[in-house]
């Protein structure tokens, strides 16, 4: 059509595009906001590591032109902790799904948040296990239909915001893929913060989750987000549960706390100094 190039052309691995995500999927929008945030902050791409786990959203590690790491199932946060401690100069962003971060990798997540490792975690919450065929997971809402709960889900879902805030994350926010501008601002804020920041992004999954729940297209799911979402900044995370009628969005926690890397490297330097002087 023209010689004009897409503004993110240089940020993507061209041989991998177009991506494998379904039409109406929101994962591309999350990747888009992440790249927008990196572009706006003018971060050197050689200083960013994108770590992703297993799942549909896990493929972002192959699509971004930053250094990237496609890790084993559930261990994205664990691998990212290693990367960050080995080279504190790097910015490490974990982009993964709800099944990867909270089902198999739940322990890694809460302990990284407790230690306050300097990581930026972006969780794409699509309420189900998309890649394996729509089984119910830890974030599937009560009474929702999935391929393994044909009469409705009987388990209560996680409130990810409450979990992250209680575990000790310094920055916690939740947005949907419809709130692209606010999401980008949030990612920018998280990338500049020291410590463990967590952003939950609610993303449409019309092919796998929506079709069982009377939302067959991406627009149906996005319109549900538009209808149900309420922005309540700094409200109580315990009351931010996702129900079909109400999705509470906003920034929930924004505090300052020394990070694990800073404390660890400070302690190492102190002990080495002591050893040099010869008194243990």
């Amino acid at each position: 059509m023209s010689e004009e190039l897409h503004p993110f052309e240089t940020f993507l691995r061209k041989e991998m595009i177009p991506h494998i995500w379904c039409d109406g999927c929101g994962n591309g929008i999350i990747l888009n906001s992440y790249l927008m945030a990196l572009k706006d902050l003018n971060i050197d791409f050689n200083k960013v590591v994108t770590v992703a786990g297993i799942g549909c959203i896990g493929r972002v590690s192959g699509y971004t032109k930053t250094d990237s790491y496609h890790t084993t199932h559930g261990r994205a946060v664990a691998f990212a902790t290693g990367v960050k401690l080995a080279n504190p100069e790097l910015k490490v962003a974990v982009i993964s799904g709800d099944g990867d971060l909270f089902a198999i990798g739940g322990n890694h997540f809460i302990h990284a948040a407790r230690r306050n490792v300097n990581l930026q975690v972006i969780c794409a919450n699509n309420f189900t296990y998309g890649m394996t065929g729509g089984q119910y997971g830890p974030t599937t809402p009560l009474d929702a239909w999935t391929s393994t709960t044909p009469y409705g889900n009987v388990e209560h879902p996680f409130n990810l915001i409450h979990l992250a805030a209680a575990s000790g994350a310094v920055y916690v926010a939740r947005w949907t893929t419809l709130h692209v501008r606010r999401l980008t601002e949030s990612i920018k804020k998280a990338l500049q913060k020291e410590g463990f920041s967590f952003i939950e992004v609610i993303t449409p999954c019309p092919e796998i989750y929506g079709r069982y729940n009377k939302m067959r297209t991406g627009i149906d799911m996005m319109n549900w987000f538009r209808k149900a979402s309420e922005i309540r900044n700094y409200s109580d995370p315990a009351k931010a549960e996702i129900t079909p009628e109400r999705i509470v969005l906003g920034e929930f926690v924004d505090i300052e706390k020394p990070s694990f890397g800073r404390l660890l490297h400070g302690m190492t330097a102190k002990v080495q100094e002591k050893m040099k002087r010869g008194n243990r």
């Binding site: 991506h19 999927c25 929101g26 591309g28 990747l31 692209v180």
Partner: protein, 95 residues
């Protein structure tokens, strides 16, 4: 429909409304019944559905009226496939 301005703003002649040119990378688009985010969420209704097929069998959107585009960039932000973007139109000779 936008609200009708009942009074002219004081700085109306100082504010310059930008105009955009819309570029669609048709082969990347996964538009059609399944996606269509750019058509649905364009605040100025610049785009519309088309019958045209691309190589993958999807229907990329068509520009209905480019003069309406005010360069908000929301289509670019909300496109999951990096298939649409806008650049500022050169309006020196008038748009």
């Amino acid at each position: 429909m936008p609200l009708k301005l009942w009074r002219k703003p004081l700085d109306a002649d100082k504010i310059k409304v930008l105009h955009g040119e819309v570029y669609i990378i048709k082969e990347r688009c996964k538009g059609g019944k399944g996606c269509n985010f750019c058509i649905e969420y364009c605040p100025k209704e610049v785009l519309e559905e088309s019958e045209e097929f691309n190589k993958k069998g999807f229907h990329p959107p068509r520009v209905k009226d480019e003069n309406n585009c005010v360069l908000c960039g929301f289509c670019e932000a909300v496109c999951p496939d990096f298939a649409i973007f806008t650049v500022e139109k050169n309006c020196e000779g008038g748009c």
